[in-house]
Amino acid sequence: MSQTLTPHRPTAKPAARPAAKPRRRGSILGRIGLAVAVTVALAPALFVFFWMLTSSFKQQVDIYTIPPKWFDFTPTLDNYREALTRTPFGRYMTNSLVVAACSSLLGLAIGVPAAYSIARYRQTKLSLSLLTARLLPGVAYLVPFFVAFTALRMVGTYPALILSHVIITFPLTVFIMVNFFAALPEEVYDAAQVDGCGKLETFWRIAVPLTRPGMLTAGILAFIFSWNDFKMALILSDGDSRTLPVAVFNFVHEASLDWGPMMAYASIIMLPVFVLTLAAQRHIVTGMTMGSVK
């Protein structure tokens, strides 16, 4: 992990194609083998989502049938109707959106200047403390935060949720952005200085515009991780301020074993995440690698 302390140029981006090296086309047998291997690797990853999605369109009878019905069932939207009406879904959806959007923007606002400063001035102590924070168990935040927000009468408010989610979004933003700032060639800064550009101006007018793709990467991932958070919201939200992951968890308690509507609920929660992932594939691959390793 020592490598993580000094900013690194992103040498290894999985999305970038490796330098073209002549490799002979495999034999037909080899290609079939490869296709089989890829299928075997992808099957478990996708099956769970397939099963969730098909179950969400099944009537209860069809869910409880053994042997299971793979495709030969009459699809129904009852589960979705049930999921959307039994709980104030629109309210929870708004909560999730507001919290995820605000906390990822706040994470960017705080993390981008810090990442620039770490990359440019090799502030290893700052990055070390962020790495230490990365080690702390999330539950270790919950007790102090719960006590503090209770004392401030903020449990169940947006600010409490958003601030607690900054703990998720901010380090992620820094870990990703340090790479992007470190990848800017030194000449960019030299040229700015020669042109009489002040230091803060260099950051704002030159470094920030040049690293917009990085900010998009960090922002998307921060949004997803905030959207997915369960434990912070479990403790710091109540009643009307619940976010979707907590809402679906409570749905279980209210409707035990009512799998159909639950699968519908789960499908709706994951839909925005998958749309984002598919729309920004390359950003997600880069960001997940940087956000975890560096």
Binding site: A12, A41, L42, Y116, R120, L210, P245, V248, A266, V285
Partner: protein, 315 residues
Amino acid sequence: MAQLTESPPRPPRKAQAPQPPPRRRLLDVLDRYDRYILPAPALIVVVAMLAFPIGYTIYLSFHEWSGGLRPPEFVGLDNLTRSLTDGQFWGSIWRTVYFVTLSVGLQVILGVGAALLFHQRFPGRGMARTFFMFPMIATPAAVALVWKMMFDPTIGILNYIVQSVGGPTLLWISDANLVIPALAIVDTWMWTPLVMLIVLAGLAALPQEPFEAAKVDGAGPIRTFVSVTLPLLSPVILVAALFRLIDAIKTFDIIKVITDGGPGTASETLNLYAFKQGLSYLHFGYGSMLLVWLTLLVFVVAIVFTRLRARTDQG
């Protein structure tokens, strides 16, 4: 990077006026402290997210408190001695170690395999990689519910699959002996993609010369993998394992949703136990003590692995 050529920076104004305007002068003063100004908001957050939780947790671990108006009562080392003789605490440590070893072991092996596979070039590789990443991007609490349904002994699809290949009827998460392996399967399903991504990045950065040398020496694919790829990759694999270890110790969402520590306490890891003590029973003092142990456990693992990593780097 392609983005460097896009959006050329506006030509900055030159400070040529003999008397710079006041705003300009203020900026000059601020400029001198830019390395403190830029990370200042971050420092506040670091204090709020690092110093405050650690300090307060340690403070509470010396106290007995259930919230409310009465202030925390100082009890000295009572919580520490209580934890040392608490069978449930030691049980939860054992279950944590069991869960973490099983799941991280599985995902490192499968993740390295998947990385080697997705390093090959084939049509649709980018899309295949993205699909493979879906489990780690999906909302854990929601995914956990799907697994809970699949684990159901009577209507669950997993038992149907096991039985259709001649296996026995398994109780999965209702079986005290099977619940941790079952949760490890979910964790592996979820996080193998991360190991894959990290190792994939390592594979892309490997030097080509050793592979050419191995080819010249007539090494077959298996020999090349064992003698060239694996040693070169081992630092990256260690990093992936470290990150997974740290996070696996802290696994919360899937255990909370799928079993909530049950049946009985059969899947109650240290994290779950600390959560229950601290936030379900509101024993803030003892819960904090358990969190101190959990944090120490994570730090020890991180330090041991960093040392290990330093050794492989030298070697």
